[in-house]
Amino acid sequence: MDFRLTEEQELLRNSVREFTQQYLEPIAGEIDEEGRYPAEVVAKLAEMDWMGIPYPQEYGGAGADYLSYCIVVEELSRACASTGIILSVHTSLASWPIFQFGTEEQKKKYLVPLCKGEKIGSFCLTEPGAGTDAAAGTTTAVLDGDEYVLNGTKHFITNGPVAGIYIVFAMTDKSKGAKGMSAFIVPREAPGLKVGKHENKMGIRASQTAEIILKDCRIPKENLLGQEGQGYRIAMQTLDGGRIGVAAQALGIAQAALDESVKYSKERVQFGKPISANQAIQWMIANMATDIAAARFLTYYAAWCKDQGLPYSKEAAMAKLFAAETASRHTSKAVQIHGGYGYIKGYKVERLMRDAKITEIYEGTSEVQRMVIAGNLLR
């Protein structure tokens, strides 16, 4: 057993830290406030070879492992959770299904520009009436000659307004339920694809979330990903990997809460001594640090399982569940440690607390993670 990261992973972590200090920390508060997508930072992620970390260099990726990708999402999220999820959705929800299920032509045409960061990826599963129950989706795809025609509305789509490539799930045979769902690669230019309403969110405000409206949207037949009827399975397997990315995002948020709490509690003086001299504060910090360490082990372990080719569905669910709840609980504690100041805009912990909540909701709510874990144990 070896708890050490490789030299390469350590070097990567150091360069992400320097990167965030230079480019992200100075703007994170501002882009949250304005709800502005940090296009200039995303362009730099591509220069650093971080837009296709776990994919082979022949497809424009960096050819590193999934754990390296987690380290990047974690460290980015420590500065700005919005940037963390922009990268995570791009890498594990949009690029991975093409890498895993795509034909050689599809990889050349779509995976390469994604990995190079020339195009941003997005994943369109959720619909207004189909959230947790994703198989209840009503978007349809009908084969018409050499083209599929897609109709329906997807909502809450991360990267929706900025993406160049969308992975869209639609029913090719409604009568079969989940087994009638198929996955498609839809380029932004496809006629009939429109970005609808932008959401005004509580947290991760710099990541863009919107409706994607498909109205007689025509795509070539070759853009079917995998086989007809495989869509639900593709979605679920994709989300298994995505959850490790969200766990890493939650981990970064929680770590930032700890960093801020340690710093502030040593500086803030009440009753003639730093508040860190009180056991009540010390215990909050000790609990925070312990949960974060546990979340980190779960997250890295899930990534390691994926890298080793071992099953990782349960491990990913555990990592995401625990990291997300750690982030929510302890960002709230971090605000507590900051007292009234923590409730005021401009203090980082205020943003962290808002950002943390989403990690318990997307890519499967905490309830869904428990269902996945129990399902794995009880079958």
Partner: protein, 255 residues
């Protein structure tokens, strides 16, 4: 096309050093290491020059065997190979010793036009290794360099001195020591990080050099400097100047 050697030192990261306030002892057990700050500028300048003019860049470091960790870091920043001169006795070298070891390695083994060093290391900042190395190699040297341009067989440099900027030109081969404002070192991309492990590293031990190295620098103790605040308050009126001066005299700050 310039053949460039860039020298760097692997040092403790001062950001990780903790101080026990009561005893003033330094806690070093969780300290990380890094390429000395200005040496990053030296490597960057070498790589930029190569991008502009072609040629080659070799990174050279002298240190204890544990400095092996530095190699991928250095190579990810652009040099195509590294010379790692190591021995357990190299943990606390004096600048004169480091310069002698570097000179012994470079002399028979490496062909070069330009050697770029950092102005001083983040730990000792003795500013000696560069000039001493130049002396031992018998080549011209410019320190405090914040601009560098290659022109044929010469190098034009700007030296940032206390009282102004000095512009000089040196014939190659030459050695320069650079200041941090010469450039902003880029962050290595992930592909460069992954490629670093595949670049050649030449391990050289003390035996290969036919040198001996006696530890002459012996650290007997390190204590953190502390700042004791007197919390004296003075008014802003003319008559208060006297009081400020009296207080400074009393504290022995001025005499």
């Amino acid at each position: 096309m310039p053949r460039i050697i860039t020298c760097y030192k692997w040092v403790k990261d001062e950001a990780d050093i903790k101080v026990d306030t009561s005893s003033r002892q330094l806690t070093l057990d969780r300290v990380g290491y890094k390429i000395s700050d200005y040496d990053r500028n030296a490597i960057e300048e070498a790589v930029r020059m190569q991008e502009q003019h072609g040629g080659s860049v070799i990174a050279v470091t002298v240190g204890p065997p544990s400095a092996k960790q530095s190699l991928k870091d250095a190579l990810s920043r652009g040099p195509e190979e590294a010379y790692f001169i190591n021995d357990p006795s190299f943990a606390e070298l004096e600048p004169a010793q480091t310069a002698a070891i570097l000179a012994a390695v470079i002399k028979g083994r490496l062909e070069y036009d330009l050697i770029i060093c950092g102005e001083g290391s983040s730990d000792l900042y003795a500013q000696q290794v560069g000039p001493r190395l130049a002396e031992l190699l018998g080549i011209p040297c410019a320190t405090y360099v914040n601009k560098l341009a290659l022109e044929g067989t010469r190098i034009n440099v700007e030296r940032k001195l206390d009282d102004g900027i000095e512009k000089i030109s040196l014939p190659l081969p030459a050695l320069v020591t650079v200041l941090p404002d010469i450039n902003t070192p880029r962050l290595p991309g992930l592909k460069q990080v992954l490629a670093a492990g595949k670049k050649p590293v030449h391990n050289i031990g003390l035996k290969d050099l036919g040198l001996t190295c006696e530890v002459t620098l012996n650290t007997t103790g390190i204590l953190a400097a502390t700042m004791e605040r007197r919390r004296l308050r003075f008014g802003a009126g003319n008559e208060d100047i006297r009081k400020v001066v009296d207080a400074l005299l009393k504290e022995g700050v001025i005499a």
